[in-house]
Amino acid sequence: MNPIKNIVVIPMVIPKDKKLDKFGGWEWMNHSKQAWQYWCDKNGHELVIYDKPSIEDTSKFRITVQRWFDIFNFLDEKSINYNQIAIIDASSIPKWDCPDFFNLTDNKFTVGRESDNLGWVYEAVEGYKDVFDNYEFDINKYFCSSFVIFNKSHKPIFDQFKEKYMKDLNQFLNLQKTVRRGTCQTPLNYIVQMSGIDVNYLPMPFRLSHLHRKDMLGPNWQLNEDPTPFFIKYGYIWFFSGFDKRSRDKIMEQTWDLVRHEYEK
């Protein structure tokens, strides 16, 4: 067995059933991979790429959903010995000196709050209410599933998630088309909140998303002393989400051009 490490898992699967140009290409995944590899090496953790979902039909069972089904088996099959696991979207780039978030979890289920587009969150929570027996979900605890840290003790949560998803599959697939508020995030939120487990929330710089909505893409144009965009200067993990996905490749490329020298060893 390999030594026990904390691991960062990035799902990187290009779905076969989608036109590759829909999201403006997939080159952005490579920037994410390079940056996370650097960060893991620096902090003594292991980067694992989740590249083989267990169910081939990624239209019915999206990668975003399957990653939660598969994660423990996937690691076991690869004989990866682990302590904590962070599953992070490939649309993210960690700042080269991002603090080690594994030290901030207290071994709890750890996430970042999702409050950028609260209208979207509200509609998602309302939309999925029926399938969760009208549970009174507290929106102020809603988290983003783009970045979740957990350990073996949380396996029952993911088992419950899979069980619920499979049981009400047709309803979930229908909700994905009608409510149109994501795939796995809201169901996972319901499962976690209904379970009553202790959830730890990381400070905002660890999950900086909706950069345009937050007005963080530019620098301090008044002092005009430092051209560094605010998100690079003040964020630890940048998520390139919350905007038209077709522009993701370009924005991540531009960002990578600004910072890549920081990741060269």
Binding site: S115, D116, N117, L118, G119, W120, Y122, D138, I139, N140, P203, M204, P205, R213, K214, D215, M216, G218, N220, W221, Q222, L223, F230, Y234
Partner: protein, 261 residues
């Protein structure tokens, strides 16, 4: 002296002429603030608190902008022989839900406020600009930057309030210059810095207790979605809000939905 109560205080001032650019207290612009006053009065009645509305300026607005004047609250209450336990300042463009839990019970006796979620371009520029011109480059964690539209303090913070006034008097001209040059707010950013530099023990409440910039979060909409999961609504940061028309629209609509059902 009367028995000690928790106090909610706010300004509701009408100014007929002002030299301050964009003065939100000018003319009819402050009309919707009556909805705020009425909602807080009802909340105070439910929660055994006392509402204290200041409708006259202590100093001319041009000498000391209204937001700075709130730090005279301890003197004002004492001059009026009002005994207090905790004091909550709220902006007059807020409306509280009648079922809002008693926030005074959440403070642990600390200086209490809510992080300002909104335009971080504005917040970070404001922080950097004030840092440069007043605080020798000092910075604090930006995700602890608070919105001064709601803050709770108590007698322990009387000295701090005096320091804020002293800071204003010592830096008055420069503060006015920086405010005019950068438009990064009046009292909010300097007081954020002073909280940290004076090592004031503080508590952050979640967004639901001061829901600023709701339009940015796409919840300022006709179904009043924000009333379903939040408690204190702050009608700030509304785009295209000429003469506060939209503030009036949303505050009236919200008040009527919550209190005149």
């Amino acid at each position: 002296m009367k028995s000690k109560k928790n106090i909610v205080f706010m300004f509701n001032i009408k100014i007929s002429n002002s030299k301050l650019e964009g003065d939100r207290w000018l003319g009819n612009r402050s009309d919707p603030y009556t909805y705020s006053v009425k909602s807080w009065q009802k909340w105070c009645d439910i929660n055994d608190a006392e509402l204290f509305v200041i409708d006259e300026l202590l100093l001319p607005n041009e000498d000391m902008a209204i937001p700075w004047q709130k730090f005279y609250i301890f003197d004002i209450l004492e001059a009026n022989e009002i005994s207090y336990d905790q004091i909550m300042y709220v902006d007059a463009d807020t409306i509280v839900h009648p079922d809002c839990p008693n926030v005074f019970e959440m403070t642990e006796g600390k200086y209490t406020f809510v992080h300002n979620e909104g335009s971080y371009d504005w917040i970070l520029r404001s922080m950097e600009n004030y840092s440069k011109y007043f605080f020798n480059g000092y910075m604090f964690d930006w995700w602890h930057y608070y919105n001064a539209g709601l803050e709770i303090y108590n007698g322990k913070h009387k000295d701090f309030a005096k320091k804020v006034i002293q800071f204003y008097n010592d830096n008055k001209e420069n503060l006015m210059k920086v405010e005019r040059a950068f438009h990064g707010g009046t009292v909010q950013t300097p007081v954020n810095f002073l909280i940290h530099l004076e090592n004031i023990d503080y508590k952050l409440l979640p967004y639901e207790y001061n829901m600023a910039d709701m339009n940015r979060k796409e919840i300022l909409r006709e179904d009043l979605a924000f009333t379903k999961f939040g408690w204190i609504y702050h009608f700030s940061g509304i785009p295209n809000n000429t003469n506060n028309t939209l503030t009036n629209y949303w505050m009236k609509k919200t008040y009527e939905a919550l209190y005149e059902k």
